[in-house]
Amino acid sequence: MKDREAACLSGQWFDVEGGADMAERNSGLSVPPSVRGVDRNLDTSSHAAAIDVRNMNFYYGEHQVLFDISLMVPERSVTALIGPSGCGKSTFLRTLNRMNDLVEGTKCTGECLVEGQNIMDPAVDVVLLRKHVGMVFQKSTPFPKSIFDNVAYGPRVAGEKNRSVLADLVESCLRKAALWEEVRDRLHTSAMALSGGQQQRLCIARTLATNPRIILMDEPASALDPASTDRIENLIGELCANYTIVIVTHNMQQASRVSHQTAFFFKGHLVECGPTMQIFTSPSEKQTEDYITGRFG
């Protein structure tokens, strides 16, 4: 608790206009202000479930890494997955668009409904699923092509050939990813020349171009400097009005800034899941509180 009080006193967690957070400050429990666009008091209970995971178990060969996970992700909101490293957050995230299929010898049991469809069904077309459920990785991985070709890649593999359609799409996706102004003059230069933060936003734009409903992000800002991290967080705030976002982060302040709902994983178990404000101010599990207050992990 010491750290948080110190941070409280220094005022670094508060911005002056943080009206929505005044109540918490007065109550003595401190959570950093959310980014613009993320209203943490949003009642998501009325939202339909974009993802509904039921009793999921996951194994790498004999080694079980997820135990009986049940989790509901409301649509058009941000869900943060937190927990110490190695607890299975990335594995869980990858089950949501079946990227784990690429690892040989994995097994997954239970149900995972994406927009009502069980994606664990072997009949599911993973190519269609992955267009619908996009993914952004920790390390930005631009293709060694031009910026334009990077963004246009998803639509192109989906069969879009019309150049003007592609050009419009590329522009709108780069705008949504807050990158357009920086790259509009050099769309046809190599994406590898962009800075780390720009590359990551390019990867987000590239994902948006496949027109997904859900975006999975695995520690999207953990390799970035604070300014770029800021931009990514603000971007999440803008995107969550139209997309469902699930974000893995090891940075708890980030989780509290950008998410409506937070799920705490520990050793493959989902310890607790609830509205972010509640998880960060009055967690019901001791383990969650210990982790959030930095007593372990």
Partner: protein, 351 residues
């Protein structure tokens, strides 16, 4: 403050100058000796190479002339030329490339990108390097027993009448072709066996150098496995593949043994298809069709033949040396091309 820290560091027990300690001095001396031994060996090898090259160039000086490139074989060393060998090698390498690039790159893509990791695949991968080490004469024997009989079969197919019955229904007139023994086709098929292992290994290495994050990112965008290979992996690996492939195929240029085995001409006074200048490729393109079935010789075979010609005045030595110079120049040009391709295409590809 900093002065105090400095005086602490300079404690007498720890010293980074090697002056005092005799064991350290001995180690330094040893590593110095080792460095010089390595250096001498390198320079020694280079010196031997330089002597060899100089003597070859020296020997060729009197004989090497533009005429050497456009003359046919002659018993008279002063008129003897390498034309047939140049064209023979050209067609041989071209056909070898046509066979070995699709098969080799395809195999590499299959082994690296598509095959599941099972016993068979592992056995194949391990044995590829063994195959690359097999002496080329062994492939020559294989060509002799497996590919040359094919000539007989083709001969029957194209026999005198230049026509075959298709299932007894109608007769198809084929090109007027004569199928010779030890033809370019058999040579190229044999040579493909020689270079395939190295082509596959070079392509595999280039594919392996493509980071898997590229594949994963592509699949995550809803690309199929095939689209990922075709649009991301192969383009990214292409510089590596092309340099590796060029270098391994240029090996086919210097090989004489497998060609001798399948029985190519050593003394040729005609070029495959009768094409003797690039101009004829344009003026008489149908001749190209008969190239694969024609007899031929190749530069290394001619060089070998010249070097053992009995000549009282040893005048064929100069001819052989000239042939070696031509072969070396062609090889250097090809290797330079490979380096240029690498330098040009690798620029945009930094992970």
């Amino acid at each position: 403050m900093s002065v105090a820290a400095g005086s602490q560091i300079a404690s007498p027990e720890i010293s980074f100058s090697s002056g005092g300690d005799s064991t350290i001095r001995r180690r330094l001396l040893l590593s110095l000796i080792f460095k010089w031994v390595c250096r001498l060996m390198t320079y020694g090898a280079l010196a031997v190479l330089a002597v060899l090259l100089t003597s070859i160039v020296w020997n060729s000086l009197g004989r090497l002339s533009p005429g050497f490139l456009v003359n046919h074989y002659s018993m008279n060393p002063a008129r003897c030329g390498i034309l047939a060998g140049v064209w023979g090698t050209f067609w041989l390498v071209l056909l070898t490339a046509c066979f070995s690039i699709p098969i080799g790159v395809g195999s590499a893509v299959y082994l690296e990108e598509l095959a599941r990791d099972n016993v068979i695949v592992r056995v194949i991968k391990v044995n590829l390097s063994n195959l690359a080490g097999v002496p080329s004469i062994v492939y020559g024997i294989l060509g002799l027993t497996a590919f040359r009989p094919m000539t007989l079969f083709l001969q029957e197919l194209f026999d005198g009448r230049h026509a075959i019955n298709v299932m007894g229904l109608f007769r198809v007139r084929l090109l007027q072709l004569e199928i010779f023994d030890g033809n370019v086709l058999v040579g190229a098929m044999t040579m493909s066996l020689v270079v395939l292992p190295t082509v596959i290994i070079a392509s595999q290495e280039a594919l392996r150098a493509v980071p898997s994050s590229i594949r994963i990112a592509s699949l995550a965008l809803g690309a199929t496995r095939w689209q990922t290979i075709w649009r991301q992996v192969i383009p990214a690996a292409l510089p590596g593949i092309s340099t590796g492939v060029i270098l391994s195929i240029s090996r086919a240029m210097g090989e004489a043994a497998p060609l001798m085995m399948i029985g190519v001409l050593t003394v040729a006074s005609m070029c495959p298809g009768g094409i003797e200048s690039p101009l004829q490729l344009i003026t008489n393109p149908t001749r190209v069709l008969s190239v694969p079935f024609d007899q031929f010789t190749a530069m290394p075979v001619e060089i070998y033949d010249w070097s053992k010609q009995p000549d009282p005045q040893d005048r064929f030595t100069a001819v052989a040396a000239s042939g070696i110079v031509v072969l070396l120049v062609v090889l250097l040009l090809i290797n330079a091309t490979a380096m240029i391709i690498r330098a040009k295409t690798a620029r945009g590809l930094k992970w």
